[in-house]
């Protein structure tokens, strides 16, 4: 995940504005994307959830020395807030308007298939395949065993593949 190595932060406390700004800039884009794909086509809501998740994570963090612990806390908060939000299906408008048509269609297909998954399935896949978290971190976020995290992620991957196949065969 980009910017996961925050060794340049060093010793930090939540009062350090520079540290906070660095963390926000390093993680905001990934958290925003995660929330958006969890809640659907509501960028304003995703913006609000992302911002409030950061505020809550930063306000309650004892220190920012353990970057991984902060990230786990941040993602857990963002997922909890997203779970309560109303889910809006994605419209066909996409952020990838500049992409070649074939690549754009392929991404749209995966996006459509993602929408058909349950909330937890979406979250697991996005944490693993988009944010590249370890199963240990995923298990800490969902408060389940690593084994279960792995099994459920694999199942979610099987399910999304089936959905993509359905869409390709015209059944989606």
């Amino acid at each position: 995940m980009p910017g996961r190595d925050c060794s340049d932060i060093g010793r930090s406390t939540p009062d350090n504005e520079g540290t906070v700004k660095l963390l926000a800039e390093q993680y905001q884009q990934r958290i925003f994307a995660l929330v958006l794909y969890l809640i659907g086509d509501d960028r304003d809501k995703a913006y609000d959830i992302t911002a409030s998740s950061f505020v809550e994570a930063l306000s309650t963090a004892p220190s920012l020395e353990d970057k991984n612990a902060f990230l786990v806390r941040l993602i857990r908060i963002a997922i909890e807030k997203s779970r309560d939000a109303k889910i809006i299906p994605f419209s066909e408008e996409t952020d990838f308007a500049d992409f070649p048509p074939e690549r754009k269609n392929s991404l749209l297909m995966v996006k459509k298939a993602l929408q058909a998954l349950t909330f937890n399935e979406k979250a697991l896949l996005l944490l693993r395949d988009q944010l590249h978290l370890s199963y240990r971190e995923i298990s800490a976020i969902f408060r389940m065993s690593e084994g279960d995290a792995r099994i459920q992620t694999v199942r979610a991957r099987i399910r999304i593949r089936r959905k993509v196949e359905e869409i390709l065969s015209g059944g989606g």
Binding site: A51, S106, L107, D129
Partner: protein, 381 residues
């Protein structure tokens, strides 16, 4: 990260397939990701592969709004200032009490009377509720009273708490309203949502790909049912399309082994269990759907938080004609064709994750008259 886990560009090419299949050990996975994050050439190379995992990765490239970081800092400062403000603390309960009394005093002077009979506070559902009793001879019209009620509900929704309001009528006509804040209500729901309740095993067994069964396909279904009809395995429910049995985990593994040997692999068996922890020494229940590609089993999956389950079951009982089988995770019922649409609409209105595993428009489905049997597998999210 230890040096011996740093990957080179050559390592990336060797381990690409394993990465895409998520088969790397964790330390290798993290080393792979770390290299790809920093090496543009390898990043482009990996991302060229059009796997679903890569496309999910690519979906994450959307741009966040440019002012997000500054909004975060601003809100954080606001939050800190709130903490540092000199505190005249009005507790949430007191604040809500003052607000509601301030709104209802005008109602008293407008001559809204509560019913003489006391009404028990209603149980709080998942949405805030406020009761206002309107007497037989209101001094304001019913329309005005309903409008005021709507305003109160809006305030309650904005406050984001669930309330119980008890109206007490005293002899002098004064009213006392006690408001209880059910502040812990949402937290347990969230905890339930995060805790995954284990559900018994749920399989789909594709035993026939063609309408005219080949011999081996007929044997496949017989093979599974024979494997289940053995000592130590109890059949709970069985029809042509559904088999539910209970057995200790080790017996279930024996059944699986037989299926694998019988079908030269497990490709015929799909496991939809949301959470697997098969303890060989504990009993587990397994529901198996027999499927033919050309014919459907009316079968739905409903995924919901535990607090929604009872409502879902109640809705199914209300709309269906007869319950044929019910267990912790599975309900099988008969329902008239006309009622199916209404039932689906009610389930969807509950905002439950809902999937249909029927193959639509199967000939059998179209020809069938009379009640339809549907099974719903309920799992927790």
């Amino acid at each position: 990260m230890e040096d011996n886990l740093n990957m080179t560009c050559s390592d990336i090419r060797k381990k690409l397939k394993a990465f895409l299949d998520d088969l790397l050990a964790e330390d290798e996975y993290q080393a792979f990701v770390a290299h790809v994050d920093h090496c543009k050439e390898c990043n482009d190379y990996v991302r060229k592969i059009g796997s679903i995992s890569n496309q999910l990765w690519e979906l994450g490239d959307i741009k966040a709004p440019s002012d997000l970081a500054s909004t975060i800092l601003f809100r954080l400062k606001q939050a800190e200032q709130e903490i540092r403000k000199p505190k005249f603390v009005i507790s949430k309960k007191l604040g809500i009490g003052i607000l509601v009394v301030a709104l209802t005093v005008p109602l008293i002077f407008l001559g809204v009377y509560h019913l003489k009979s006391r009404k028990r506070p209603q149980d709080v559902g998942e949405t805030p509720t406020i009761e206002v009793h309107v007497g037989r001879k209101p001094a304001i019209s019913r329309r005005e009273a309903e409008s005021l009620l709507g305003e109160l509900k809006g305030i309650a929704a904005r406050l984001g708490v669930s309330k119980k309001e008890k109206a007490v009528e005293s002899d002098t006509g004064r009213e006392e309203e006690a408001i209880e804040e059910d502040a812990g209500r949402t937290t347990p729901v969230r905890k339930e949502a995060l805790l995954l309740v284990p559900k018994p095993l749920h399989w789909h067994f594709l035993y026939a790909k063609e309408r005219n069964l080949k011999r081996e396909e007929a044997q496949r279904k017989a093979g599974l049912t024979n494997a289940v009809n053995s000592p130590g395995i109890i059949t709970d429910y069985q029809t042509e399309s559904l088999l539910v049995f209970t057995a200790k985990g080790e017996k279930i593994e024996n059944v699986l082994e037989k299926i694998i040997l019988m079908s030269s692999g497990s490709s015929f068996l799909r496991d939809y269990t949301p959470m697997v922890s098969v303890d060989p020494n504990q009993e587990h229940r397994v529901s198996v759907y027999f499927e033919k590609e050309t014919a459907s089993v009316r079968h739905w999956h409903a995924t919901c938080v535990p607090s929604q389950e009872q409502r879902l079951l109640d809705v199914i009982r209300e709309e269906s004609g007869r319950i044929n089988y019910e267990s912790e995770e599975l309900i099988v019922f008969s329902i008239s064709k006309d009622a199916i649409k209404k039932l689906k609409a009610r389930i969807l209105a509950m905002r439950i994750d809902f999937s249909e595993f029927d193959y639509a428009e199967s000939k059998e489905g179209r020809l069938q008259s009379g009640p339809v049997e549907i099974s719903v597998y309920i799992s927790n999210r």
